[in-house]
Each structure stands twice: as structure tokens, then as C-alpha cells.
């Protein structure tokens, strides 16, 4: 009973959203110099690449996989920012994040705090997939172009990271230029394809010099 009600409301929700999105798209009148008129329907980053973006740091030694440097196809497009702003209000984003996007029910989108990544591709992914503390998933309701336009609008607010700055977000580097020398001299080298010998997991049980836990004790 409850499940059925939920199913019904989800269907009606998606239907409502589709109608709204269609209406919004229909209202996009091409104007002179409007690059939106030529909005790419091809040339968008493949969803599979975006879907593979990791939320956390990468295990192992690979830096900057392709997904992390996917750029917004509307990069530098002022019309996309305006369209994104309109979508931000029309799709009720403003109701949660605030009309100034500075946070209300949902988090602030104008500062450097990004729980799930602050680069264009990471923000795209958050809008597409939704997030567990109440952010709906818009991937089924909004076409990819509209999600990228929302990313453009959010990017224009000044708090997000630029394409390729995923590591800066991970390490809390807000673009400050001063870096302590140890960071560049003593950090382990990335892109080492194999584990160092000493780091290899033992293939035999620990013996010899290793302290043996007392029977019944806590290691």
C-alpha cells in the first residue's frame, strides 16, 4: 500500500518535472548572439565518464583520470549562466539553497565548502545523482544541457573550483599560492605503478620480531 503510493507519487513527480522542463526549454527563444541556440546536443561529455567520477580520493597511484577533468561544454557562455539562473529558480533549487544560493535548507553554493566536490564535473554529478541529505536526483528529469547550465550558474557565484582542480578541493587548497616546501619535496611520488617492496602485504603470518598478542588480548 505504502509502496504503491510512493510509486504513484514518483511517477507523477517525474511527469510534472518533465512538463516543467519542456515548458522551460520551449521558452528559450534564440536571440542574436545567443550561443544557447546552438547548444550542443552532441559533444556533451559521455554520461558513463561522468558517472565514474569518484567522490573520494583515489586509492593507488593514479592522478587525474579523465572524468576529473571533464569541462563544462558551456564554459565561458554568459547566456548559459542566465539560463542556469532561471532554472535555479524554476526548478525550486532556490527554495532550498536560497535565492542568493548562500544556503538555507540546503548548503551554501557560494563558498569553498563542497562536500561532494566543487569542480564542474563534480557539481554536475551531484545534480544528476542527487545526494543523501535531501538533494533530489535530477538526472531523469532534466536534460544534460540544463544540468550543465545550472553548473554554469553555480560556477559564476565564485565559490566552486575550476576544471582540473579536483585535487585542490581534496586537499583543501583554496587557490592560495603559498605552499610550504615539504609539500613538494617530501611527498611520495605519484604515478608509481607498483607497490614498494616494503609495502607489500605479507604472504605468511607475522612471526619473529613482531609482538604477538597475548591470548585473549586485544591486538
Amino acid at each position: 500500500m505504502a509502496t504503491r503510493a510512493t510509486g504513484r507519487s514518483m511517477v507523477s513527480a517525474l511527469r510534472a518535472v518533465s512538463i516543467i522542463a519542456a515548458a522551460l526549454l520551449a521558452s528559450y527563444e534564440p536571440v542574436a548572439g545567443d550561443s544557447t541556440a546552438a547548444a550542443p546536443t552532441s559533444g556533451l561529455p559521455p554520461e558513463a565518464v561522468l558517472a565514474s567520477l569518484p567522490l573520494a580520493e583515489l586509492a593507488g597511484a593514479v592522478r587525474d583520470p579523465a572524468g576529473l577533468v571533464v569541462a563544462n561544454p558551456f564554459e565561458g557562455d554568459k547566456q548559459a549562466i542566465e539560463d542556469g539562473h532561471r532554472l535555479f529558480i524554476a526548478m525550486n533549487c532556490a527554495g532550498c539553497h536560497g535565492y542568493d544560493a548562500a544556503g538555507n535548507m540546503g548548503p551554501n553554493l557560494t563558498d569553498k565548502a563542497w562536500r561532494y566536490g566543487g569542480t564542474p564535473s563534480a557539481i554536475y554529478q551531484s545534480i544528476f545523482q542527487g545526494r543523501p541529505q535531501g538533494m533530489p536526483s535530477w538526472g531523469r528529469a532534466l536534460p544534460a544541457q540544463d544540468i550543465w547550465k545550472l553548473v554554469s550558474f553555480i560556477g559564476s557565484l565564485g565559490g566552486s573550483y575550476r576544471t582540473g582542480q579536483h585535487q585542490d578541493w581534496l586537499n583543501g587548497d583554496h587557490g592560495v599560492t603559498s605552499t610550504a616546501p615539504e609539500v613538494t619535496t617530501l611527498e611520495p611520488t605519484f604515478n608509481v605503478p607498483t607497490l614498494r617492496e616494503a609495502d607489500k602485504p605479507p604472504d605468511t603470518p607475522l612471526a619473529g620480531g613482531s609482538p604477538t598478542p597475548a591470548p585473549g588480548g586485544t591486538p
Binding site: 507519487s9 513527480a13 516543467i20 525550486n92 543523501p132 535531501g134
Partner: protein, 621 residues
């Protein structure tokens, strides 16, 4: 229009119905000739719990928040000091009052709504048990106004409260084990629950939140033994859904008719029409009626929902057995400013027009203070208690506020200086009543807003809201005020202006004291008669909780208050000096004295590198 002009009506049966216009400065009218004397205004303190205990959020059915304790009084309150404190480690707004039953205190943290029983019989009140209900984190982003819980209830040996993700839980008060857990709604659709359950007999009354998310409001009764739903009454829809039947007799003709919860809306819009029951419930055991209010209509953009939008921003009187409505009154018909009607109603008996009337007093968000006949729903007095400019007066015959047309928002047009703002002249923070003074005490606001409405589309699980707002102080530059109110004359007796918002509950005691807190973290004790501030203590965070008082097992009187800013107080977060969030319960006593004996004072050793003499071989003390 200054907004400071007051309008008083008095519909005593002996008088003809008439609107009498006068200034708040104090013209005197027949039927309302004097400030109330203490003896004139009384309340029923049922269920008459032990004087030193506090079993429900407002302590009694009438919602007085009055304690008969007087060990702490005007003579010694200056010696109040912190006795102990407790942090739940959660940084959402702390809006409830602790409960004390026997030698145990019960508190519930904001999301994820962990409950704690604290053992008052031991020094420092250590944790007796903890109950972690693990609600869905989805709820955080569906709650309009912070992931708060406004309170919890004790009854039938159970601690009962609502989880933010729409479940009501009952926990064995002795053991902390869950007894039942009832799902009341789907959080994914934008519905949450934040209000404190209210227990009448074997029924647990609970309501929803979500008026900002297009959720239709409801109040439900659950069986206290099993958690099984007994009835549910909606705030809009057909008479059947609203539980309006042959017993329903609203006082005013404009609230009479068939299916007004449908016909006062554009087609089908009642289904997403709001009217959430997220506030307080009071109960008259003699009339056997409950009273509670409903939230704003959805969407908040009024031009999208022409009509009176019944039964939002309204109050219901219902039979707690069946949910059947007895009467209703709509405070703000076709509410255009988010003036929810959910604020508390304090039940008092008072003299008006030479007769004692069974009344309720309600400070509505629309800035009018109402004294209403709780038998019939007749409005006896309606006067502004806070700065307002959305209405030019109050029509006594219809009991409708007179709307100033220029204060009605239009989509995509900025409207400046609308007073009060969305959160009202006062929000949900509960007031108190003292039978010793006959006065009510309330923290109120002095705030206005600039508002721009944006047309809304209904998308389930997202805000159905549309009000873009900035708030600023009304004239006077103070955001807050703590006032005392005479419900017989509809006038303030005294007021204390506060620079920051006053969004805490109030507590009145037989010690002739009233307690309240401020959003910048001051906890104050005030002379109940004169309003003189007798004692103030700065706490760690802002105060939006509700103070309470109890007798410890040691026979001492204590006063407790949560410090943890959040909720709607965050509208003023840009003020310089606005505090950081917090999570601490502070408990005060005279000189900070508490259980003197048996405290486990550890032994100090000096100069020894050997094993700690206090530690045995197993490493345990």
C-alpha cells in the same frame, strides 16, 4: 500608517457587536476597563503532576509553563549558578524543554534524534541510557527550518517523540528500549515531523511539518500502547478528510458551508495546500476538546491560489476521541505572508463583559494577540502585540483582519517593508502564564521583510515556496522583545527590548519569576510583576530552547535550559556578534550547589613513575 495603532474589539454578549477603534496608547472602552487582577485570570493545571516534576513540554494541558516551585525567587535568584551541564554534540537548533520524571531527566537531541535519560540521583547526572533511532539523513534536506525537534513527551511509562523522517517512536522510560515505532509519512516527498507529541488519555497526538514543501497538513491520534493510528484529520480537502461533521459549529458564518477545504481553493490545489500541524496542542479536560493550529498555505505565492484557502493558518477545536472538529477559526484567510497559525494557545478563564469566559490566548504570527472563547470560537479580543503594517484594522463582526491592498505581494515585484515578516510577530516559541499576576509572558519579534514572490511549480520533495526575502528590524532597531501581556485588556503590562531576537520559550514560577533567553546567548530571570531583569547569565550559544524547572532528588530547585542556536533564528545570522551553534543543556541552582555527597573525586598522586595506584591490573578503575 505607523503599524503601532491598535484595534480592540470586545464582543461581550451584553454589548452590541461593534468595532471600537482606539490607540494602543490607552483609550478605555466599556467592557475593558482595567488591567487584570491576578485573581481574575485562572487556569486549570491538570493533569496536576507532582510539583517538582515536568512531564510534558508545557507542563500542563492548558500550556501554562507555570511551575508551583518557589525556592528560587526574586530574593535569591541573583545567586543562580551553573550546577552541571550536558552536551549532546549535535549542532542543529535546540528547541525543546527537558522533562523530569522522578529522579530521571529526559532529553532528545536534534537530528539524528538520539534520546538520553540522565540520572539525577547521581552527581553530574550521568547518562542512564541512550536510544539511537537512526532516522534517514534524507530528512535533513527536507526540513524547512533546520533539523530540529521541538519537544518530547512522557506518558504511560514511555518517552514519546517524532523523528525528523516521519516516524513516531515510543521508548520504555526505564530501559530505553523501543516499544513501538510508527511510520506516519514519506520523507522523500518533503514531509518531516518536528512537533512534540501531546498525550490525552490513551491517545498520542502528532502532526506533520512540510507547509513549505506542498505537503497537506494533518493531525493524527495513535494508541499509546501500540502506536496504531486511531484517526487522522487533514487541514484541507473534503469535510470527510477534515473530520467536519454534524458537531462542527464555527462561530462565524464565513466558515460555514460544505467542503470549504476544497471550494476555497483552485481545482485540486488543496492536495498540495499545506496547513501542517507542526506546533503546540492544548487540552481542556472539562470540555474534552483539544486545540491546535495549522500552518501557512502552499505555495506561499498567494496569486497562484485565489480563495480563502481553508483550513490553513487556522485553529481547530476537536474531540480527541474521534478527531471530529467542534469549531474552527481562520486567523489569516488567504494568507499571503506565511503567517502560520501554529503558535501555542494557553487556556485561561477570565472576566470579560462582567462574565467569566473560558478562553484561549494565542499570539499569532500575524502579530495579533487573540483572546478567544474556547467553547464557541468567538473572538473576544484581537489586538496587535508586535509591529505590523499588513492590516489596517480588525473587523469585529466577521473577526477578519482588514488587509491593506498595497501590502499584498505580486509575483516578481519586490515589496519592501512588510511587517511582520514570514516568521511573524512571534514564532512557535511558547509563552507562559502566571496565575499570580494574571499575565502571559512571551518572547516576540520586531522584524520586517522585503519580499519578492516567484511563481512556483510543484515538484515533490522540493520547496513549494516562492518567497525571496530579506529581513530587517522594524522601527526601534531591536530585533527582539520580551513582553508581558494582559489577556483581559489586550495590552502589554511591560516589555524588555532585546537587540537580538528573543526566540526562547518562557517559564513562569511561583517564585514570582519569569525566565527567557536571547539568540545571542543571554539567559535571564525577570520579576514577573515589574519586568525588572534580576539575573542574566551568558551561555555558550544562542538560546531558542524552552526553560523548565524541577526539584532534584536532593530537594533542591533547579532551572534548566538548552543553548544551541538554529531554526528560524538563523534569519538574523548576518548580525555582528551572532553566536556559533551549540548543543549544551545548562542546569542552574542557587550557588551552583548540587548533590554534595558521593561524587567520585579522583585521587591525585605526585612524583611517581610507577603504576597509578588508582588503577588495578586489568586496567579498569
Amino acid at each position: 500608517m505607523t503599524g503601532q495603532t491598535g484595534f480592540i474589539i470586545a464582543n461581550a454578549p451584553s454589548m452590541s457587536l461593534a468595532t471600537i477603534w482606539l490607540s494602543a496608547a490607552g483609550l478605555i472602552m466599556s467592557g475593558v476597563t482595567h488591567f487584570a487582577l491576578a485573581a481574575d485570570v485562572s487556569a486549570n493545571f491538570a493533569p496536576n503532576d507532582p510539583p517538582g516534576e515536568w512531564h510534558s513540554q508545557a507542563r500542563d494541558y492548558a500550556n501554562t509553563r507555570y511551575s508551583p516551585l518557589d525556592e528560587i525567587n526574586a530574593g535569591n535568584v541573583k545567586q543562580l549558578r551553573i550546577a552541571w551541564s550536558f552536551s549532546d554534540g549535535v549542532n542543529y537548533g535546540h528547541e525543546g524543554a527537558p522533562l523530569v520524571v522522578g529522579a530521571t531527566m529526559y532529553v532528545v537531541a536534534p537530528f539524528p534524534n538520539v534520546a538520553y535519560a540522565l540520572d539525577l540521583s547521581k552527581p553530574g547526572a550521568p547518562i542512564k541510557w541512550t536510544y539511537a533511532p537512526d532516522p534517514s539523513p534524507l530528512a535533513i534536506g527536507k526540513a524547512c527550518c533546520d533539523a530540529v525537534v521541538r519537544g518530547w513527551a512522557f506518558a504511560d511509562g514511555k518517552l514519546i517523540y517524532n523523528l525528523l523522517d516521519d516516524h513516531t517512536v515510543a521508548v520504555d522510560a526505564e530501559t530505553g528500549k523501543q516499544v513501538w515505532r510508527t511510520k506516519m509519512g514519506n520523507v522523500e516527498n518533503g514531509e518531516t515531523m518536528t512537533m512534540p507529541p501531546f498525550v490525552v488519555g490513551n491517545k498520542v497526538l502528532v502532526g506533520n511539518s512540510g507547509g513549505e514543501m506542498g505537503k497537506i497538513g494533518w493531525l493524527a491520534a495513535l494508541d499509546i500502547g501500540t502506536g496504531k493510528e486511531i484517526w487522522r484529520a487533514y487541514s484541507a480537502g473534503t469535510d470527510q478528510l477534515v473530520k467536519i461533521g454534524s458537531d462542527f459549529h464555527p462561530f462565524y458564518d464565513w466558515m460555514k458551508g460544505k467542503d470549504l477545504g476544497v471550494t476555497t481553493w483552485p481545482a485540486d490545489m488543496w492536495k498540495t495546500g499545506g496547513g501542517a500541524a507542526w506546533g503546540w496542542i492544548s487540552y481542556d479536560p472539562e470540555l474534552h476538546l483539544i486545540y491546535y493550529g495549522t500552518s501557512n498555505p502552499s505555495p506561499r505565492v498567494p496569486t497562484q491560489r485565489p480563495g480563502l484557502n481553508f483550513w490553513t493558518s487556522a485553529i481547530f477545536a476537536r474531540d480527541p476521541e474521534t478527531g471530529a472538529a467542534k469549531w474552527a477559526y481562520v486567523f489569516t484567510p488567504h494568507d499571503q505572508w506565511d503567517y502560520d497559525g501554529v503558535n501555542e494557545s494557553i487556556l485561561v478563564d477570565l472576566p470579560i463583559g462582567g462574565k467569566t469566559r473560558k478562553a484561549l490566548v494565542h499570539f499569532d504570527r500575524n502579530a495579533y494577540a487573540y483572546t478567544i472563547d474556547r467553547v464557541t470560537g468567538e473572538v473576544l479580543i484581537a489586538t496587535p502585540y508586535a509591529y505590523q503594517n499588513w492590516s489596517s484594522g480588525f473587523d469585529a463582526k466577521t473577526a477578519m483582519p482588514i488587509v491593506r491592498p498595497e501590502m499584498q505581494p505580486k509575483p516578481e515585484v519586490k515589496l519592501s517593508n512588510v511587517c511582520p515578516p514570514d516568521i511573524g510577530g512571534k514564532d512557535w516559541q511558547p509563552s507562559a502564564f502566571s496565575p499570580k499576576t494574571g499575565l502571559l509572558y512571551a518572547g516576540i519579534f520586531n522584524i520586517c521583510m522585503d519580499v519578492t514572490d516567484h511563481r512556483q511549480s510543484y515538484i515533490p520533495g522540493t520547496p513549494y515556496d516562492g518567497m525571496e526575502m530579506t529581513r530587517h528590524p522594524a522601527p526601534g532597531d531591536n530585533w527582539g522583545e520580551f513582553m508581558s501581556w494582559d489577556p483581559v485588556t489586550g495590552r502589554k503590562a511591560w516589555a524588555i527590548k532585546e537587540k537580538y531576537m528573543t526566540m526562547s520559550g518562557a517559564l513562569a514560577t511561583a517564585g514570582d519569576l519569569v525566565f527567557y533567553g536571547t539568540v545571542d546567548g543571554w539567559f535571564r530571570a525577570v520579576n514577573a510583576k515589574t519586568g525588572e531583569v534580576l539575573w542574566s547569565q551568558k551561555l555558550g550559544s544562542g538560546i531558542i530552547g524552552a526553560p523548565m524547572t524541577y526539584l532534584g532528588p536532593d530537594g533542591r530547585q533547579y532551572v534548566a535550559i538548552y543553548s544551541g542556536v538554529g531554526g528560524a533564528a538563523m534569519v538574523s545570522k548576518a548580525m555582528p556578534g551572532f553566536p556559533a551553534r551549540g548543543s549544551t543543556l545548562y542546569v542552574f541552582s542557587i550557588n551552583g550547589e548540587s548533590l554534595p555527597n558521593g561524587a567520585p573525586t579522583p585521587t591525585t598522586t605526585t612524583g611517581s613513575a610507577g603504576p597509578n595506584p588508582q588503577t588495578n591490573q586489568s586496567g579498569q578503575r
